[in-house]
Amino acid sequence: MIKVALAGNPNCGKTTLFNDLTGSKQHVGNWPGVTVDKKEGTCKKNKEIKILDLPGTYSLSPYSAEEIVAGETITNKNGENIDVVLNIIDGTSIERNLYLTLQIMETGIPMVIALNMMDEVEAQGTKIDVDKISEELGVTIVPMVARSGKGLAEVVKAIEEVAASKSTPKNLPIFGEIKNIELNAKSDEEKEEAEISVADIRYKTIDDIVSKTVKKGKAATEVKNTKSDKIDKILTNRFLGIPIFLVIMFAMYACTFSENFLWLGINSPGMWLAGVVESAWEWVVEGIAGLIEGASPWIYALVVDGILAGIGAVLGFMPLVLVLYLLMSFLEDSGYMARVAFILDRLFRKFGLSGRSFIPLLMGIGCGVPAIMATRTLEKEKDRKITAIITAFMPCGAKLPIFAMFFSTMFADDNQTLLNYSIYLVSIVVAIVVSLILNKLVYKSEASNFIMELPQYRVPTAKSVLIHGWEKVKGLGKKAGTVILFSTILIWFLSSFNLDSFNGKNKEANEDGCIMCEMDDSFLASAGEVIAPIFKPLGFGEWRPTVGVITGWIAKENVVVTFAQLYEEDVTQEYLDEYFGAMDGSELEELGFEGGEYDPEAAYDIYVEGTLFEGGDENALPTMKDDIKTKAAAYAYMVFNLLCMPCFAAVGALKRELKTWKATGFAVGVQMLTAYVVALLVNVIGGLL
C-alpha cells in the first residue's frame, strides 16, 4: 500500500483533485483535538494508493491548527506513515505556491508536484518550462487541470513511480543554510532576524527559479485588469459591496427557509424538500405503527414516540442542511466567501469575530442545525468555536411559538411588534457580549489578524458542490444522529414512566394495562419538582415551566405542546368547543378545520399547533399565570428558552463541529450559564420597573 498525503495552498484546487482521485469513496474524520476535517480516500485508478487530504496551508510554520497538522503529518510525527507527498500548486500564482513546496522538500520526503490550473495559465499567455523546474527541484512535475480531470492518469503514474524508486527531492544548498541560520539564532531578537532571513532566502530561490522557467503572459502582469478584478470592482465596491452582500444573504436565506419563496406564495427549495421528506417519513411511521399495533402499549410508544420521532428529527433537518450547504459551497468555491470576510471584517472584529461569522448567525434565525454546521467554513479555529456557541442564541423558527404564546397571553396589551424586535435585539446583544467575553477569557492567546488571500473568482464545478453538500448531510446523520436519537428516547422515557410503572401499580390502574403514566406523574415531573427551585430567582421556579424547558430540548416548540398538556384544566373539550364555537366557517377553515366544519376530535391539535403556536388566543392557559405570575417572569422564561441549550439536534451539530464531548459540554455550559444570568437580570430588573 502507498500512503499519499495531499498538500497545497488553500484555493489551489486541492479538494477538486482529491475528489477526482478518490471519487465518492471518502471518509471524513477529524484530527485529534482540533476542529479540522481529516479526509481520507482510496484512489479510484489504483486501489493500492490511499490518499490523505491535508488541510490547505500556505506554509508549514506552526501558525494555525491546520499548519500544525500538515507539518506533523509530512514530517511523520503523528504516526500517519506517509510514503509520498503529492503537492498541488496553482500555476497562476506559482511563486507563493512554491514556498510550501520548498518547505516540503526540506523534510526530504519523496514527492510529486501536480501543477494545476494549466488552462488558466495558458489563457493568461504564460509559459511555464515544466521540465526545467522539475530538474531544478529534482521532483516529478505533472501539469494538469483538476477541474476537468486532465492529467489525472499521469499524476497517479508519477506517484507509483516515486513510491517505487523512493527518490527524494534535490537537497538544495539553501536547505543547509536555513538549518544553520535557525540553529544559530539564540536570543529572541536573533530568532526574529532569522525568520526574515529564512523567508527571504526561500523566496529569493523561488524568484531565481521562476525567472529562469516562467514567462508571464500579458494578462498575468497587468494589475487590476483580470476578469476576477473586474468582478471585484462590483462585488467589493465601496458603495455596492454591502448592499450586494445583503441581497445574496437574503437570497440564500429565502432559498433555504422561506415559506413564501420570492413572494410567489410557494415554499423555498429547502422547505419544499423538507416537506417531501416529512410526508415520506410520516408514511413510513404510519406503516411501522400499523405493523406493531398489537404490541404492548409501551413498546408501541417506544417505537413511535421515542425511536421514530428521534429519527424523524434528524431526517427533518437534512434537507435544510443540504440546501444551505449547496449554496454555501457554491459561494465558497466561487471565491466570494473570502470577499464576505473582506467586506465585514471591520465590523465583526470589534466583536472578536470574523466577517464570515455573519452567515451562520443569520442562518441561525432559520434553523440552528445547518447554521452551526456552516461554522466549518470559517477560517480560524477560534472563530469556528465561538460562532458555533453563539449561533445557538438566535431565535430560530422553532422558538417562535414560545414567544407567540407568551406575547398573546401575558403581554396582550403591549406593542407586539416591539416585543418581537426586543427578542431579536436580546439575542444579538447577548451573542456579541458572549463572544467578547469568550475572546477575553478563553481564547485570549490567539492573536487576531486578517492576512488572507483573495482568490480568483471561478465558476464552481457541480461535482464539488454536490460532494460538499452530501458530506454535510452524511455528517449530520452519522455524527449528530446518535446524539439526537439517544436524547429523544431518554426524554420520552422520563416523561412517560414513573416508579409505579415497574411495580405493577400503573398496570392495575390503567384500563388497558399499560405501565406508562401521564406526564404530570412521570419521572420528568418529579425531576421538575426537584430542579424548579433553581429557577425561583428567575421568577418561574415551578415544576410545570421547568418540565417545559426540558421537553424544549427535544424541539423548542415542544415548550408550548408541553404547556398545553400540563395545564390540562385549561384546554378541556368544553373550552375548545366554546372557543371554536364562537368562530364562523371561514375562520375555522383558515385554522385547518376541513370544509370549515368544527370537528371536536381535531380541535385539540389545531388549538395547540395553530392557535397557541401563532398566539391566537389571548385568554389561553389562565392557570399558567399561577406559575409565571409577572411580565418580568414571563419575559425571563422566554429569554431562558431562547438562550439555554438548543434542541438536541443542534447539540448534535455542535458535537460534530466541536469534535470532542469536552468542547461540546463547555459550549452547552456557556449557553446554560448565559441563559440563567440574562433571565435573572430580566426578572430582577423587570420586577423593579
Binding site: 500564482s93 507563493r96 526574515i196 498575468a220 465601496r238 471584517d345 471591520r346 489578524n449 492576512i451 488571500e453
Partner: protein, 72 residues
Amino acid sequence: MTLRDLKPGQSGVVASVKGEGNIRRRVLDMGVTPGTKIDVIKVAPLGDPVEIVLRGYNLSLRKEEAEAIELR
C-alpha cells in the same frame, strides 16, 4: 514610510517587516519579503482592511498589519 501610507493605485517595494511574531511570520510566508513589489488595489467598504497585489495574487490585510510593512 509603511504600506499603510499608500493609497489605492499606488505601489511600493518592501524594505522590512516588523510586528508581532506570529503575524510577522505569516506576512513573510505569504511572500511579503524585502524587495517585493506591492500594488495597493482598494480599501474595503467599511474603510479597512485593504487589498493588495503581490507576486501575482491578491491579498488582504488590515491597516494595522500594513503599518508593520516598511517600504523603501
